[in-house]
Amino acid sequence: MVQQVPTRRFVCSLDELPPGGMKLVDVGKFGVGVYNVHGALYAIVNYCSHEGAPLCLGLIGGTNESAPQSPDRMRRVRDGQIVRCPWHNWEYDVTTGQNVADPRRRVRTYQVDVSDGEVYLTA
Protein backbone atom coordinates (compact mmCIF):
# COMPACT_ATOMS: atom_id res chain seq x y z
CA MET A 1 0.00 0.00 0.00
CA VAL A 2 1.29 3.45 -0.89
CA GLN A 3 1.52 5.65 2.18
CA GLN A 4 0.05 9.07 1.47
CA VAL A 5 2.52 11.87 2.19
CA PRO A 6 1.07 14.24 4.81
CA THR A 7 -0.06 17.48 3.19
CA ARG A 8 -0.90 20.79 4.81
CA ARG A 9 -4.43 21.61 3.73
CA PHE A 10 -6.95 24.39 4.31
CA VAL A 11 -9.85 23.45 6.64
CA CYS A 12 -11.95 26.57 7.19
CA SER A 13 -11.68 30.04 8.60
CA LEU A 14 -11.21 30.18 12.37
CA ASP A 15 -14.61 31.94 12.65
CA GLU A 16 -16.26 28.77 11.40
CA LEU A 17 -14.63 26.66 14.15
CA PRO A 18 -15.46 28.34 17.47
CA PRO A 19 -14.51 26.81 20.87
CA GLY A 20 -16.47 23.59 21.41
CA GLY A 21 -16.77 23.01 17.64
CA MET A 22 -15.50 20.27 15.34
CA LYS A 23 -14.94 20.18 11.57
CA LEU A 24 -14.79 16.84 9.84
CA VAL A 25 -12.24 16.94 7.01
CA ASP A 26 -12.52 14.47 4.14
CA VAL A 27 -8.96 13.22 4.10
CA GLY A 28 -7.56 9.72 4.03
CA LYS A 29 -9.70 6.64 4.39
CA PHE A 30 -11.81 7.69 7.39
CA GLY A 31 -11.61 11.48 7.63
CA VAL A 32 -10.09 13.61 10.38
CA GLY A 33 -11.92 15.66 13.02
CA VAL A 34 -10.47 19.08 13.83
CA TYR A 35 -11.51 20.33 17.30
CA ASN A 36 -11.39 23.73 18.94
CA VAL A 37 -10.84 23.10 22.68
CA HIS A 38 -11.10 26.43 24.54
CA GLY A 39 -9.27 28.20 21.71
CA ALA A 40 -6.59 25.58 21.03
CA LEU A 41 -6.89 23.35 17.96
CA TYR A 42 -6.41 19.56 17.83
CA ALA A 43 -7.14 16.83 15.29
CA ILE A 44 -7.81 13.08 15.59
CA VAL A 45 -8.69 10.40 13.09
CA ASN A 46 -12.40 9.70 12.65
CA TYR A 47 -11.90 6.03 13.43
CA CYS A 48 -12.25 4.47 16.87
CA SER A 49 -9.41 2.08 17.72
CA HIS A 50 -11.97 -0.33 19.20
CA GLU A 51 -14.18 -1.36 16.26
CA GLY A 52 -13.73 1.38 13.73
CA ALA A 53 -16.77 3.56 14.49
CA PRO A 54 -16.84 7.20 13.21
CA LEU A 55 -15.37 8.50 16.46
CA CYS A 56 -15.66 12.22 15.69
CA LEU A 57 -19.46 11.96 15.42
CA GLY A 58 -19.52 11.23 19.16
CA LEU A 59 -20.35 13.74 21.88
CA ILE A 60 -17.59 16.10 22.96
CA GLY A 61 -17.49 17.00 26.64
CA GLY A 62 -15.62 16.18 29.82
CA THR A 63 -15.01 13.05 31.86
CA ASN A 64 -15.24 12.01 35.50
CA GLU A 65 -12.40 11.38 37.88
CA SER A 66 -12.33 10.04 41.40
CA ALA A 67 -12.88 12.60 44.20
CA PRO A 68 -13.13 10.64 47.47
CA GLN A 69 -14.18 13.66 49.55
CA SER A 70 -17.09 14.60 47.31
CA PRO A 71 -20.56 13.22 48.20
CA ASP A 72 -20.79 11.41 44.87
CA ARG A 73 -17.07 10.50 45.00
CA MET A 74 -16.42 12.04 41.58
CA ARG A 75 -15.91 15.32 39.78
CA ARG A 76 -16.11 16.52 36.19
CA VAL A 77 -12.77 17.31 34.57
CA ARG A 78 -11.16 17.94 31.16
CA ASP A 79 -14.29 19.75 29.99
CA GLY A 80 -14.50 20.10 26.22
CA GLN A 81 -11.64 17.76 25.35
CA ILE A 82 -13.13 14.27 25.70
CA VAL A 83 -14.95 12.64 22.80
CA ARG A 84 -17.21 9.63 23.44
CA CYS A 85 -17.40 7.08 20.68
CA PRO A 86 -20.96 6.91 19.32
CA TRP A 87 -20.92 3.10 19.31
CA HIS A 88 -19.56 1.82 22.66
CA ASN A 89 -18.88 4.97 24.65
CA TRP A 90 -15.11 4.65 24.73
CA GLU A 91 -13.66 8.00 25.78
CA TYR A 92 -10.67 9.67 24.10
CA ASP A 93 -8.84 12.85 24.95
CA VAL A 94 -8.68 14.76 21.66
CA THR A 95 -5.63 16.71 22.88
CA THR A 96 -3.51 13.53 23.11
CA GLY A 97 -5.42 10.82 21.23
CA GLN A 98 -5.29 8.67 24.37
CA ASN A 99 -8.15 6.51 25.59
CA VAL A 100 -9.17 7.71 29.05
CA ALA A 101 -9.56 4.22 30.56
CA ASP A 102 -6.47 2.69 28.98
CA PRO A 103 -4.01 5.26 27.54
CA ARG A 104 -2.26 2.49 25.61
CA ARG A 105 -5.32 2.34 23.34
CA ARG A 106 -4.97 5.50 21.32
CA VAL A 107 -6.11 7.09 18.10
CA ARG A 108 -3.92 8.96 15.67
CA THR A 109 -3.50 12.73 16.12
CA TYR A 110 -2.54 15.34 13.52
CA GLN A 111 -0.87 18.73 13.39
CA VAL A 112 -3.18 21.77 13.17
CA ASP A 113 -2.10 25.39 12.76
CA VAL A 114 -3.74 28.78 12.25
CA SER A 115 -2.42 31.31 9.80
CA ASP A 116 -4.08 34.69 9.13
CA GLY A 117 -7.35 33.49 10.67
CA GLU A 118 -7.38 30.32 8.62
CA VAL A 119 -7.19 26.76 10.00
CA TYR A 120 -4.80 24.28 8.37
CA LEU A 121 -4.54 20.55 8.94
CA THR A 122 -1.48 18.47 8.11
CA ALA A 123 -2.77 15.00 7.33
Binding site: P68, M74, W90, V100, A101
Partner: protein, 349 residues
Protein backbone atom coordinates in the same frame (compact mmCIF):
# COMPACT_ATOMS: atom_id res chain seq x y z
CA UNK B 1 7.09 -34.77 49.00
CA UNK B 2 5.26 -31.56 48.05
CA UNK B 3 3.94 -29.60 51.03
CA UNK B 4 0.16 -29.31 51.17
CA UNK B 5 -2.05 -26.71 52.77
CA UNK B 6 -5.74 -27.58 52.83
CA UNK B 7 -7.43 -24.19 52.81
CA UNK B 8 -10.98 -25.41 53.31
CA UNK B 9 -11.94 -27.92 56.01
CA UNK B 10 -15.29 -27.86 57.84
CA UNK B 11 -15.10 -28.75 61.51
CA UNK B 12 -18.47 -29.70 62.98
CA UNK B 13 -20.22 -29.85 66.30
CA UNK B 14 -20.47 -33.36 67.67
CA UNK B 15 -24.25 -32.90 67.73
CA UNK B 16 -26.42 -29.90 66.89
CA UNK B 17 -27.16 -28.91 70.49
CA UNK B 18 -23.45 -28.62 71.32
CA UNK B 19 -23.53 -24.99 70.18
CA UNK B 20 -25.89 -24.13 73.05
CA UNK B 21 -23.14 -24.66 75.60
CA UNK B 22 -21.33 -21.70 74.11
CA UNK B 23 -24.32 -19.33 73.95
CA UNK B 24 -24.88 -16.72 76.68
CA UNK B 25 -27.69 -17.51 79.15
CA UNK B 26 -29.97 -14.89 77.61
CA UNK B 27 -30.21 -16.95 74.41
CA UNK B 28 -30.04 -20.52 75.62
CA UNK B 29 -33.75 -21.20 75.15
CA UNK B 30 -33.98 -19.75 71.67
CA UNK B 31 -34.83 -21.93 68.77
CA UNK B 32 -31.96 -22.04 66.30
CA UNK B 33 -31.74 -24.01 63.07
CA UNK B 34 -29.78 -27.25 62.93
CA UNK B 35 -26.92 -27.90 60.56
CA UNK B 36 -28.13 -29.87 57.51
CA UNK B 37 -31.54 -28.28 57.77
CA UNK B 38 -32.28 -26.95 54.33
CA UNK B 39 -34.20 -28.01 51.27
CA UNK B 40 -31.19 -28.68 49.02
CA UNK B 41 -29.38 -31.71 50.39
CA UNK B 42 -27.12 -34.28 48.84
CA UNK B 43 -28.62 -37.79 48.75
CA UNK B 44 -27.70 -39.52 51.98
CA UNK B 45 -26.65 -36.30 53.70
CA UNK B 46 -24.27 -33.47 52.93
CA UNK B 47 -21.20 -35.25 54.27
CA UNK B 48 -19.20 -38.30 53.39
CA UNK B 49 -21.41 -41.24 54.28
CA UNK B 50 -18.52 -43.24 55.72
CA UNK B 51 -17.98 -40.54 58.33
CA UNK B 52 -21.43 -40.50 59.93
CA UNK B 53 -21.36 -42.18 63.31
CA UNK B 54 -22.48 -41.43 66.82
CA UNK B 55 -21.34 -37.85 66.27
CA UNK B 56 -21.25 -35.58 63.24
CA UNK B 57 -18.68 -36.12 60.44
CA UNK B 58 -15.70 -33.85 60.98
CA UNK B 59 -16.43 -33.36 64.67
CA UNK B 60 -13.54 -35.22 66.25
CA UNK B 61 -10.20 -33.36 65.97
CA UNK B 62 -8.18 -36.58 66.30
CA UNK B 63 -10.06 -38.29 63.48
CA UNK B 64 -9.78 -35.24 61.27
CA UNK B 65 -6.05 -34.99 62.05
CA UNK B 66 -5.58 -38.62 61.13
CA UNK B 67 -7.48 -38.28 57.85
CA UNK B 68 -5.72 -35.11 56.76
CA UNK B 69 -2.26 -35.02 58.29
CA UNK B 70 -1.41 -38.68 57.71
CA UNK B 71 -2.08 -38.07 54.01
CA UNK B 72 0.49 -35.34 53.66
CA UNK B 73 -1.46 -32.22 54.62
CA UNK B 74 0.78 -29.81 56.58
CA UNK B 75 -1.83 -27.27 57.63
CA UNK B 76 -5.62 -27.19 57.55
CA UNK B 77 -7.64 -23.99 57.58
CA UNK B 78 -10.85 -24.67 59.49
CA UNK B 79 -13.93 -22.99 58.05
CA UNK B 80 -16.72 -23.70 60.58
CA UNK B 81 -20.32 -23.17 59.49
CA UNK B 82 -22.81 -21.20 61.51
CA UNK B 83 -26.54 -21.36 60.85
CA UNK B 84 -26.40 -18.95 57.93
CA UNK B 85 -28.45 -15.79 57.96
CA UNK B 86 -31.34 -15.86 60.39
CA UNK B 87 -33.92 -13.17 60.92
CA UNK B 88 -32.78 -12.25 64.44
CA UNK B 89 -29.45 -10.67 63.54
CA UNK B 90 -28.52 -9.93 67.15
CA UNK B 91 -29.00 -13.58 68.07
CA UNK B 92 -27.02 -14.54 64.99
CA UNK B 93 -24.05 -12.48 66.14
CA UNK B 94 -24.14 -14.43 69.41
CA UNK B 95 -24.26 -17.68 67.41
CA UNK B 96 -21.17 -16.54 65.50
CA UNK B 97 -19.40 -15.75 68.76
CA UNK B 98 -20.45 -19.15 70.16
CA UNK B 99 -19.02 -20.89 67.08
CA UNK B 100 -15.79 -18.96 67.53
CA UNK B 101 -15.53 -19.83 71.23
CA UNK B 102 -16.28 -23.46 70.39
CA UNK B 103 -13.62 -23.48 67.66
CA UNK B 104 -11.02 -22.17 70.10
CA UNK B 105 -12.13 -24.47 72.91
CA UNK B 106 -12.50 -27.72 70.98
CA UNK B 107 -10.05 -27.33 68.10
CA UNK B 108 -7.47 -24.59 68.17
CA UNK B 109 -6.35 -24.33 71.78
CA UNK B 110 -6.03 -28.06 72.54
CA UNK B 111 -4.29 -28.69 69.19
CA UNK B 112 -0.83 -30.04 69.98
CA UNK B 113 0.02 -30.58 66.31
CA UNK B 114 -0.09 -26.82 65.67
CA UNK B 115 -1.41 -27.59 62.21
CA UNK B 116 -4.94 -26.25 62.53
CA UNK B 117 -5.74 -22.63 61.82
CA UNK B 118 -9.20 -21.16 62.15
CA UNK B 119 -11.75 -18.79 60.68
CA UNK B 120 -13.64 -16.44 63.00
CA UNK B 121 -17.27 -16.20 61.96
CA UNK B 122 -18.97 -12.81 61.93
CA UNK B 123 -22.49 -11.77 61.00
CA UNK B 124 -22.59 -9.27 58.13
CA UNK B 125 -26.25 -8.45 58.85
CA UNK B 126 -24.99 -6.83 62.08
CA UNK B 127 -22.00 -4.74 60.97
CA UNK B 128 -21.37 -3.24 64.42
CA UNK B 129 -21.47 -6.67 66.00
CA UNK B 130 -19.20 -8.05 63.29
CA UNK B 131 -16.59 -5.35 63.85
CA UNK B 132 -16.76 -5.95 67.62
CA UNK B 133 -16.20 -9.67 67.09
CA UNK B 134 -13.17 -8.99 64.88
CA UNK B 135 -11.74 -6.67 67.54
CA UNK B 136 -12.37 -9.31 70.23
CA UNK B 137 -10.48 -12.07 68.44
CA UNK B 138 -8.15 -10.51 65.87
CA UNK B 139 -4.99 -10.96 67.88
CA UNK B 140 -5.46 -14.69 68.43
CA UNK B 141 -2.51 -16.25 66.62
CA UNK B 142 -4.49 -19.24 65.33
CA UNK B 143 -7.39 -17.29 63.86
CA UNK B 144 -6.17 -16.38 60.41
CA UNK B 145 -9.27 -15.07 58.65
CA UNK B 146 -12.81 -13.75 59.01
CA UNK B 147 -15.69 -15.85 57.65
CA UNK B 148 -19.06 -14.74 56.23
CA UNK B 149 -21.82 -16.59 54.33
CA UNK B 150 -22.03 -16.54 50.56
CA UNK B 151 -25.75 -15.91 51.06
CA UNK B 152 -26.41 -12.26 51.60
CA UNK B 153 -29.30 -9.91 51.07
CA UNK B 154 -27.05 -7.36 49.39
CA UNK B 155 -23.78 -7.83 47.52
CA UNK B 156 -20.71 -7.40 49.71
CA UNK B 157 -19.52 -4.33 47.80
CA UNK B 158 -22.38 -2.29 49.31
CA UNK B 159 -21.41 0.45 51.75
CA UNK B 160 -23.11 -1.01 54.84
CA UNK B 161 -20.57 -3.84 54.91
CA UNK B 162 -17.48 -1.71 54.44
CA UNK B 163 -16.71 -1.22 58.18
CA UNK B 164 -16.42 -5.02 58.51
CA UNK B 165 -13.98 -5.32 55.64
CA UNK B 166 -12.06 -2.32 56.92
CA UNK B 167 -11.64 -3.96 60.33
CA UNK B 168 -10.52 -7.24 58.76
CA UNK B 169 -8.01 -5.48 56.52
CA UNK B 170 -6.67 -3.41 59.43
CA UNK B 171 -5.75 -6.67 61.17
CA UNK B 172 -4.40 -8.27 58.00
CA UNK B 173 -7.17 -10.89 58.04
CA UNK B 174 -8.56 -12.18 54.72
CA UNK B 175 -12.35 -12.52 54.49
CA UNK B 176 -13.50 -16.02 53.50
CA UNK B 177 -16.90 -16.33 51.83
CA UNK B 178 -18.47 -19.78 52.11
CA UNK B 179 -21.93 -21.15 51.35
CA UNK B 180 -23.69 -21.29 54.67
CA UNK B 181 -27.40 -21.02 55.06
CA UNK B 182 -30.62 -22.26 53.66
CA UNK B 183 -32.73 -20.95 56.52
CA UNK B 184 -34.85 -18.58 54.52
CA UNK B 185 -33.14 -15.23 55.00
CA UNK B 186 -31.52 -15.66 51.62
CA UNK B 187 -31.90 -14.86 47.97
CA UNK B 188 -32.73 -17.69 45.58
CA UNK B 189 -29.60 -19.74 44.97
CA UNK B 190 -29.27 -19.02 41.26
CA UNK B 191 -29.49 -15.77 39.31
CA UNK B 192 -32.77 -16.99 37.81
CA UNK B 193 -34.40 -18.38 40.93
CA UNK B 194 -34.72 -21.71 42.69
CA UNK B 195 -33.11 -24.77 41.18
CA UNK B 196 -35.39 -27.77 40.83
CA UNK B 197 -33.13 -30.31 42.49
CA UNK B 198 -29.84 -30.50 44.37
CA UNK B 199 -27.54 -30.81 41.32
CA UNK B 200 -28.83 -27.50 39.96
CA UNK B 201 -28.28 -25.93 43.34
CA UNK B 202 -24.81 -27.37 43.91
CA UNK B 203 -23.57 -26.58 40.41
CA UNK B 204 -24.67 -22.95 40.32
CA UNK B 205 -24.88 -21.70 43.90
CA UNK B 206 -21.08 -21.19 44.15
CA UNK B 207 -21.27 -18.79 41.19
CA UNK B 208 -22.93 -16.17 43.38
CA UNK B 209 -19.40 -15.27 44.45
CA UNK B 210 -19.13 -13.24 41.28
CA UNK B 211 -21.81 -10.77 42.37
CA UNK B 212 -19.87 -10.10 45.58
CA UNK B 213 -16.58 -9.88 43.69
CA UNK B 214 -17.91 -7.55 40.98
CA UNK B 215 -19.38 -5.12 43.52
CA UNK B 216 -16.23 -5.15 45.67
CA UNK B 217 -14.31 -4.01 42.59
CA UNK B 218 -16.84 -1.70 40.95
CA UNK B 219 -18.00 0.06 44.12
CA UNK B 220 -14.37 0.77 44.95
CA UNK B 221 -13.97 -1.31 48.12
CA UNK B 222 -10.71 -2.92 47.01
CA UNK B 223 -9.44 0.44 45.81
CA UNK B 224 -10.08 2.05 49.20
CA UNK B 225 -8.61 -0.86 51.19
CA UNK B 226 -5.36 -1.97 49.59
CA UNK B 227 -4.80 -4.69 52.24
CA UNK B 228 -8.27 -6.22 51.92
CA UNK B 229 -8.34 -9.79 50.63
CA UNK B 230 -11.31 -12.05 49.89
CA UNK B 231 -11.22 -15.84 49.66
CA UNK B 232 -14.07 -17.50 47.78
CA UNK B 233 -14.10 -20.89 49.42
CA UNK B 234 -16.67 -22.76 47.34
CA UNK B 235 -14.70 -22.79 44.11
CA UNK B 236 -15.92 -21.36 40.83
CA UNK B 237 -12.46 -20.11 39.88
CA UNK B 238 -12.91 -21.83 36.52
CA UNK B 239 -15.60 -19.40 35.38
CA UNK B 240 -13.69 -16.38 36.64
CA UNK B 241 -12.04 -15.69 33.29
CA UNK B 242 -15.11 -15.10 31.08
CA UNK B 243 -16.80 -13.11 33.83
CA UNK B 244 -13.77 -10.85 34.25
CA UNK B 245 -13.64 -10.38 30.48
CA UNK B 246 -17.18 -9.03 30.68
CA UNK B 247 -16.32 -6.71 33.56
CA UNK B 248 -13.21 -5.40 31.78
CA UNK B 249 -15.22 -4.78 28.61
CA UNK B 250 -17.90 -2.79 30.39
CA UNK B 251 -15.28 -0.80 32.25
CA UNK B 252 -13.75 0.35 28.95
CA UNK B 253 -17.16 1.63 27.89
CA UNK B 254 -18.50 3.12 31.10
CA UNK B 255 -15.51 3.84 33.30
CA UNK B 256 -16.78 7.37 33.91
CA UNK B 257 -19.66 6.05 36.06
CA UNK B 258 -17.16 4.57 38.55
CA UNK B 259 -14.03 6.67 38.04
CA UNK B 260 -12.41 5.32 41.24
CA UNK B 261 -11.89 2.06 39.32
CA UNK B 262 -8.58 3.28 37.97
CA UNK B 263 -7.42 0.06 36.30
CA UNK B 264 -8.96 -2.89 34.48
CA UNK B 265 -11.22 -4.70 36.98
CA UNK B 266 -9.22 -7.88 36.44
CA UNK B 267 -6.09 -6.08 37.65
CA UNK B 268 -7.52 -6.10 41.20
CA UNK B 269 -7.45 -9.89 41.34
CA UNK B 270 -3.83 -10.67 42.27
CA UNK B 271 -3.78 -8.26 45.21
CA UNK B 272 -7.23 -8.98 46.58
CA UNK B 273 -8.78 -12.30 45.57
CA UNK B 274 -8.15 -16.01 46.18
CA UNK B 275 -10.23 -19.11 45.55
CA UNK B 276 -10.39 -22.51 47.19
CA UNK B 277 -10.66 -25.41 44.80
CA UNK B 278 -13.80 -27.48 44.54
CA UNK B 279 -14.56 -30.86 43.03
CA UNK B 280 -16.98 -29.22 40.60
CA UNK B 281 -14.41 -26.91 39.02
CA UNK B 282 -12.24 -27.10 35.98
CA UNK B 283 -12.32 -28.81 32.62
CA UNK B 284 -13.40 -32.44 32.50
CA UNK B 285 -10.41 -33.03 30.22
CA UNK B 286 -7.35 -32.48 32.44
CA UNK B 287 -5.29 -31.82 29.32
CA UNK B 288 -6.90 -28.38 29.06
CA UNK B 289 -6.10 -27.49 32.67
CA UNK B 290 -2.68 -25.81 32.33
CA UNK B 291 -3.77 -23.41 29.64
CA UNK B 292 -7.04 -22.48 31.31
CA UNK B 293 -5.29 -21.86 34.64
CA UNK B 294 -3.03 -19.29 33.02
CA UNK B 295 -5.92 -17.20 31.69
CA UNK B 296 -6.56 -14.32 34.10
CA UNK B 297 -3.55 -15.48 36.15
CA UNK B 298 -5.63 -18.08 37.96
CA UNK B 299 -2.54 -20.08 38.95
CA UNK B 300 -1.76 -17.35 41.47
CA UNK B 301 -5.30 -17.24 42.84
CA UNK B 302 -6.21 -20.85 43.54
CA UNK B 303 -5.61 -22.75 46.79
CA UNK B 304 -6.32 -26.41 47.31
CA UNK B 305 -9.33 -26.94 49.59
CA UNK B 306 -10.64 -30.41 50.30
CA UNK B 307 -14.08 -29.41 51.70
CA UNK B 308 -13.60 -32.35 54.09
CA UNK B 309 -15.92 -33.89 55.30
CA UNK B 310 -18.34 -32.72 52.62
CA UNK B 311 -19.50 -35.44 50.21
CA UNK B 312 -17.62 -33.64 47.40
CA UNK B 313 -14.27 -33.92 49.23
CA UNK B 314 -11.39 -33.87 46.77
CA UNK B 315 -7.85 -35.09 47.31
CA UNK B 316 -4.70 -33.08 46.50
CA UNK B 317 -3.83 -35.59 43.78
CA UNK B 318 -7.11 -35.13 41.95
CA UNK B 319 -6.96 -31.36 42.35
CA UNK B 320 -3.46 -31.16 40.89
CA UNK B 321 -4.18 -33.40 37.93
CA UNK B 322 -3.06 -31.83 34.67
CA UNK B 323 -1.15 -28.95 36.28
CA UNK B 324 2.50 -28.25 35.48
CA UNK B 325 5.10 -28.18 38.26
CA UNK B 326 4.95 -24.48 39.20
CA UNK B 327 1.14 -24.45 39.02
CA UNK B 328 0.99 -27.49 41.23
CA UNK B 329 3.21 -25.88 43.87
CA UNK B 330 1.16 -22.70 43.86
CA UNK B 331 -2.16 -24.48 44.18
CA UNK B 332 -1.19 -27.12 46.72
CA UNK B 333 0.66 -24.85 49.14
CA UNK B 334 2.47 -21.76 47.91
CA UNK B 335 -0.55 -19.46 47.45
CA UNK B 336 -2.00 -20.42 50.85
CA UNK B 337 1.39 -20.18 52.53
CA UNK B 338 1.72 -16.58 51.35
CA UNK B 339 -1.85 -15.60 52.16
CA UNK B 340 -1.89 -17.00 55.69
CA UNK B 341 1.79 -16.56 56.50
CA UNK B 342 2.28 -20.29 57.08
CA UNK B 343 5.81 -21.61 56.73
CA UNK B 344 5.82 -25.16 55.40
CA UNK B 345 8.20 -27.86 56.61
CA UNK B 346 11.68 -27.46 55.19
CA UNK B 347 11.89 -31.20 54.74
CA UNK B 348 8.90 -31.02 52.46
CA UNK B 349 10.65 -28.74 49.97
Amino acid sequence: MTPIIDANVQPHFRYNAEIRRYLPDAHKLRSIPDVEQQWYQAPGGDYRQDLYGENYPGSDPETVSRHLFSQGVDYAILNPLTRGNIADYLLNSRICAAVNDWLLDRWLEPDSTNRFRGTMRVNPEDPKGAVAEIERLATHPKLVQVGVPMQSREPYGKPMFEPIWEAAAAHGLPVAVHINGGNGVDHPPTFAGHAHTYPGYAAFMPLNYFVHLATLIVEGVFGRHPRLKFVFADGGYDILTPLMWRLDTFWLSMRDQTPWVDRYPSEYLPGHVRFCSSAFDGPVDAGKMQRWMDFTGKSDLLMYGSSYPHWSTSTPGVMAEGLDGPQRDKVLWRNASELYGLAVRESAL
